[in-house]
Symmetry: C2
Subunit: 325 residues, 2 copies
Amino acid sequence: MKKVAIGVDIGGTNTAIGVVDPEGNVMVKTNIPTPSHGDIDKYISDLSVAINEQIKSVKLLNDEIQVLGIGIGAPNGNYYSGTIEYAPNLSFQGVVHLVKLLRNNFPEMEALALTNDANAAAIGEMIYGGAKGMKNFVMMTLGTGVGSGIVVNGELVYGSDGFAGEIGHTILVAGGRPCGCSALGHLEAYCSAPGMKRTAFELLAHYNDNDSLLADKSYKELDSKMIYDAAVKGDKIALEVFEKTGAWLGEGLANTIHYLSPEAIFLFGGPTAAGDYIFKPTKENMEKHLLPIFKDKVPILKSQLKAGDAAIVGASALVWKELDK
Amino acid sequence: MKKVAIGVDIGGTNTAIGVVDPEGNVMVKTNIPTPSHGDIDKYISDLSVAINEQIKSVKLLNDEIQVLGIGIGAPNGNYYSGTIEYAPNLSFQGVVHLVKLLRNNFPEMEALALTNDANAAAIGEMIYGGAKGMKNFVMMTLGTGVGSGIVVNGELVYGSDGFAGEIGHTILVAGGRPCGCSALGHLEAYCSAPGMKRTAFELLAHYNDNDSLLADKSYKELDSKMIYDAAVKGDKIALEVFEKTGAWLGEGLANTIHYLSPEAIFLFGGPTAAGDYIFKPTKENMEKHLLPIFKDKVPILKSQLKAGDAAIVGASALVWKELDK
């Protein structure tokens, strides 16, 4: 009897569904559109059909397989209530009781739980990845935004209302750049992939540099991968983007250590593919801002979750975490 | 049989020792000097004598009393190891194994534990004060410095090494005022009692104001109580000190909520005696910097620990917390 968990990642445009084994390998997976129609009952029905198809196809591989539960990662997902609340990028209005609605269709599952995507990634790192055995760590997900999941004493920190761990929305530069949430100077406005693009354009303007490899890209075109490629070729603007992003992120991580004194901080997401270009200045600047008692203690590690499957794998980890209680 | 706990507060010049009942009332207390001689064995011996005298005198009041344990609050106190590590304001060198040394003299105690003063205050608030029954809250102690104690899922957050909860040393103003720790722009440099004095002098200089009630005080003379008295009389500089301090503190508390989503934040210490002068601008500015999901959820409350005895009471609370495990 092989026990497995289902991971569901609800994104703005697609919902990914996969069956994950206890080692964190995705056995089968599929995608359905995350609807723009806003009809939650229709979506629950479509999602349930897709989940049942995944269960069927994995049982064709091995009829001894037992599916223990469903873990879901979603923007503004609330673990305590099993709801998605006022998610700006989803078409569902207000508070959606996702776990309750899905439970009607899967009464036999031992675990059915929901959290936000960054928390799911943190649990994934703890169950399958580099944080195995760690009791205190922080996961930072760098992408379109900056998410975070905090683990203290072996448990995800949800706070009083389920929404703790919004490090991306702490203030890094008082009165600085507008964040996607409209407040000023948040870490996300500097350390996300779009944040790096903003830095690149600021630097092009500052140095009036027409020779940079980035100087022939429109604002719409430029992405963090292009900045990395230019840095590898020695482009000064691109190299300075990484230096500055690392300085900002290092400051944010130093603050994080002063709050939580974690054993390690994990970085996940597109910008981490740049390796030392981003890790080195981040580490240097983090160390510079630490109290002596924290210096040289906290490694910054690359997430061991595989990029393509991480969201499904992270969500599925919720199932093992639930059953471990 | 009445059960009681001993609280020991190790300060830079004095060590306060008291016996505390389960309601948080100090039954007897005394002081011994915290030595400048750096001889830890001599200090342990003096401290043990003083503790035994307190036990004797409380048993004279009621010979049915049973002393369950000793809780200690100390700068750089490490709960995990029971050590005081490199405390800048104490004469003991390096790492001092306080709990181990004291345990030799009190083998019969059911609990003997140590933490830093702000953590002790947080546990005191949870055991005896306004945080009774709360599972997620933050305690900020405003005084010569700014300390903090974080409670998540009903447990003090010590982090991987025992030193978590240094919110006073998170960066509030990048490149700003030097902090006591020598780094720039920390919350402590703005929101401590000396931080308020620094703000007052900056404002006097900025407005070139010779008519302020604060204009006839030397830098050495001025303290936060004088700023409060001047504010009550309508002094513009003093009022602006509170506005600015509240703006900075509110920003720091907003960051704290984005990390931890606590049920409440407690403020303790001298500056909180100013009541609305400090609470109102802090609350207003905190709310301004919160994501919509956190708005109007988190009250800022005054600590219910009595100012004079808070350090002893907080330290003694460690005993109940230990026995509760």
